[in-house]
Amino acid sequence: MKQKLLEHLSSLLFVSAILVAVLAVMGMRGDAGAAKKDTLTLALQSLPLSSTRDAFHRALLKDVVNIYYPGQYDKTSATVDAVIQQREVDFARSLQSSHVKERLTVGRFVQILGMYAKFLVIYVLVLALTYYGVQTIGTWRFVRKKARAESRQPRHGLARIARAAALGIPKALAYAVLFSPAYVVAYSVRTEFNTDSAFFMVLLATMCNGLLIVYSNKFYAFLTSESRRGYVETAMAKNLTASYGSNAIPLKAILRPFKKFDGHVFGHIFANTRQQYLSSVKEQASFLITGLVITEMALNIHGYLSYEMLRQLLYKNFSIVIVILLLIFITVKMTEILVDVKMHRESMRFENRASTGGTAA
């Protein structure tokens, strides 16, 4: 565990150091560039030339330079033209980008931290919701399948077709939403609902991008493989409840946030599966951040961290982009550290239990 923590912290430090170094280099370059430009501008400003577009002033400047450098008329004329042209280009460029060019100031940094706090709240909420949703959907599917297999009443003929037809359209719609990229769903309902709220963001990030369905299916696969292990049959031989029929595992127990299935073999299957699932939470969190970033960027809502990153990328304000990148990287790393700590604790707990004859691992 110590080694893992060390690795996480060293990579966090490594990336932070690199990004801060890039930030510093960019800052120095920016200052050097500004200083260079200022010298040129000052050199021109020191001359009695109020407008570069005024033909009289241009001619006057050329005459003055010719007096300073006699006998080089062509050369000085070309130099003055080039300097004036450059000054015009610089002026036009500064006018164009004056409203978009930004530097990283303390005020701006605090503003970004505010956006980051919002991002973090949404991220934690969605992670908690998907963590709960994945386990609930996976468990519900597993229990329902087992209960159906026990009841041994497969539907045939008309009953099957009628059921498929009744469930077909809602099922197809549900699948369409679950697999849709969040921006497709958001744009689909934008005319009828306010999609710019944090609530809607949480809803989209939880339901869409395939996150919930992919990981609930993974959880279901873990449950299925775990249920085939030897200890399940041993538990059954020892008369532990193993039936899934006649509401042996009620829906209320499945929907509970902290699931417990005491006295049923499924309790052990679930506990062991949850342990396996924990290892994929890191992957799920990374995918969730991807989905969240895409959703925030695609919806173009001002005041959100990812949209801000996209905007600053467009305006080439790379110092702000780097800070946002660093914040996102810190989020990922902190999640990885927390998951590793949780996994370590769980495995310690399981090992202790195993030694006292508890849940089989």
Binding site: E7, S10, S11, F14, V15, Y175, A176, F179, S180, P181, Y183, V184, Y187, S188, V189, R190, T191, E192, F193, N209, G210, I213, V214, N217, A221, S286, F287, I289, T290, V293, I294, M297, A298, N300, Y307, L310, R311, L313, L314, L325, I328, F329, V332, K333, E336
Partner: protein, 285 residues
Amino acid sequence: MIHTRRTLSRDTLWLIVWLSGIAALAVWDTLFLNRPALKLLIGGFVNTFCVALMVIVVTLALGWATTILLHSLEKRKSRIGYLIATFVLNLVRSVPQVVGILIGYVWIAFMIQDGTLRNQFAVFTVMACCMSLFIFLELVDLMRERILHYQRLDFYNALLVCGVSERRIVNFDILWKNSRIHIFNKLISIFGMAVFLQCSIDFVISVGLSTDVSSVNLPPTLGSLLANIDSKQDILAIGYTLTHPGYVGNLFMGHLQGISIAFVIVFTLLSVYQVANGYAERHRL
């Protein structure tokens, strides 16, 4: 392995469903969608799937090479080399895919503007490399898991004793002969992931970076076509239909461009997911 099933397996069934769905859409669009939009849609579809296929090839090459590199570093007991390699890989793993790819795409757009990248094939290749860089670790994990699994079995040591080189055991006996089904299954999922990421990034770039790094620079894909103002209006019409159900008929006639693009994306993601799951089920992975 079960190869002689009489009924269609789930993966084959979903592959047929996907092909039929796309074919039905193609017929419908040929009949009712205007020519320029149809041409754009076909171009976007082909480009998207070409890049996704290239992602698979690059990911496979990158994943295989990295697995072998890690394995040989581990075997040579080159502790420092192994630590550096895993440190770098874990670092890449910690970068959210979309952020890494977005930066890669902006870089590609600048290269196009500079004239460094000139033809479409080069653009596609660099795009695929960018995406693969943030996806290939999933394949590396799988391959390393398979090698580790077989190293614990007797046949690994038995082959070594028989004089078979370790390189051949890992590359041929473990990865090719005994893991290619697992690898193929992973590649199917990666295909879906590549389509999702590519469409999303192109959508984001086209919507958010519409002035400097516009979709004019990058080859059109389903994502950038969806970000098109016409397509967005078509998608917005779905919301209108929710409160005015009588409008539903217009979706399939008047708003065909956006609806078709959204359908292709969502239907492909769903089908790829089902194919991958069906394949895993069929081969009991």
